[in-house]
Amino acid sequence: MKNIKCLIIIIVLVLMSSVRSNAQYNNEVFLSYNLGLPLGDSKDYVSTLSYIGTEINLKRFVKPNVSLSISFSWNVFYKESSDMISLPNADVSGKQNRYINTVPMLAGAQYYFGRNTNGIRPYVGANLGALYLGRRLQIGVYDITENTWHFMLQPEAGLIFNLNDYSDAVIGLSYNYGTSSTSSITGKSVSESWIGLKFGYGWKNGMFY
């Protein structure tokens, strides 16, 4: 975990630097607030909307309407429950705290419709990479935590709003899917999936220009 924190800091510092261009920009850094709506197995475990989420995204425009990107994001899904858990020969009651922490690390490409001087440009994209996942169940004084790595896919679409020569705003929708693995909490093979909605602000040519 310490290594992941260091990696995050390094990525943040790298994203702060960029090549300055007066005529047009090649790089853009987006910082977004993310919401997450769990689906499938994720919803079975935690059914509530995630209000804790953030994303940092570096885009490099290889063409005026095509960008490559790397992104690093984090969402927390949490549910407090008192529902009884029924097992084959046992029933368990008690206050439960269920958590899912998702940390996708993705690379991908996006295509933008219209000119880069337009006020609003729709875009579509696809990302893939790794998902670092933490699931935790607290019931009574008992605490079960599991941390796993998954392969992840993320198709996305959204709108970019050209605010001025230095910044953009973005609203994006994504479908996030992490491949399945056996959970030590439930004993079942589970995959992670959720719908992401982000609201972000972008700095053209980095944050300090």
Binding site: E80, G94, Y132
Partner: protein
């Protein structure tokens, strides 16, 4: 515009630096109320085995006390009467009749209290540092130790007909366990034990006598 962007960038960088320190380790909830750590577990046979045939029970008046032998883990007798009365009342509500002759009983009810103390040590390894003039180094790690005492109230129902004479094999058909942190005032312990035993039976409606 450039200045505003620069200030915004600084603010966002500060936010990211702070977020990266806590990223992934977000667990929004933590309670200091011992009652919220109570767990009720009921173990049972296949539900088809409960056909309302259990009607009469015999129950010892004494409650067994089982400790792990740790220092300071003696169990008070203050709650024995409460436990006995709550189990008796719940069985009566389920239509059971208490008898005092083992030969005429369908099931045998036994009561027990257990506790155990677990000790934990957390080790902290701070990062290295650099200082002007005298170079860098490492902070010494430090540790903190704490203990948690948990207790369980265990109610066991044994089918007398399934007991095999001459062997130690018994037929436990149901077990209700209330487990929690041994902490709080006497009145809160009374309330928690009472509610926990009630919960054992309320989630075991298949035990009802016909």
């Amino acid at each position: 515009m450039k200045k505003r962007n620069f200030v915004l960038g600084l603010l966002m960088f500060g936010f990211l630096a702070a977020a990266s320190m806590t990223i992934y380790s977000c667990y929004p909830y933590n309670s200091t109320n011992p009652a919220e750590y109570d767990v009720v577990v009921t173990l049972h046979d296949a539900l088809s085995n409960y056909n309302g045939s259990y009607k009469k029970y015999v129950m010892r008046d004494s409650v067994a006390h089982i400790t792990d032998g740790s220092a300071g883990t003696t169990i008070t007798r203050s709650y024995d009467t409460l436990i006995r009365n709550k189990v008796r009342d719940n069985l009566a509500a389920f239509g059971y009749i208490r008898v005092y002759d083992t030969l005429s009983a369908d099931v045998v009810i036994t009561l027990a209290i257990t506790n155990s103390t677990s000790y934990y040590v957390d080790n902290y390894y701070p990062d290295d540092y650099w200082g002007w003039g005298y170079g860098g180094g490492y902070y010494y790690p430090w540790s903190s130790a704490y203990s948690v005492t948990t207790g369980s109230v265990v109610t066991t129902m044994t089918d007398k007909k399934k007991m095999q004479p001459g062997t130690t094999k018994k037929a436990i058909v149901w077990m209700g366990i209330l487990n929690g942190v041994v902490d709080g005032t006497t009145s809160s312990m009374y309330q928690r034990i009472s509610a926990g035993i009630d919960k054992c039976f309320s989630q075991s409606l298949y035990l009802k006598a016909q």
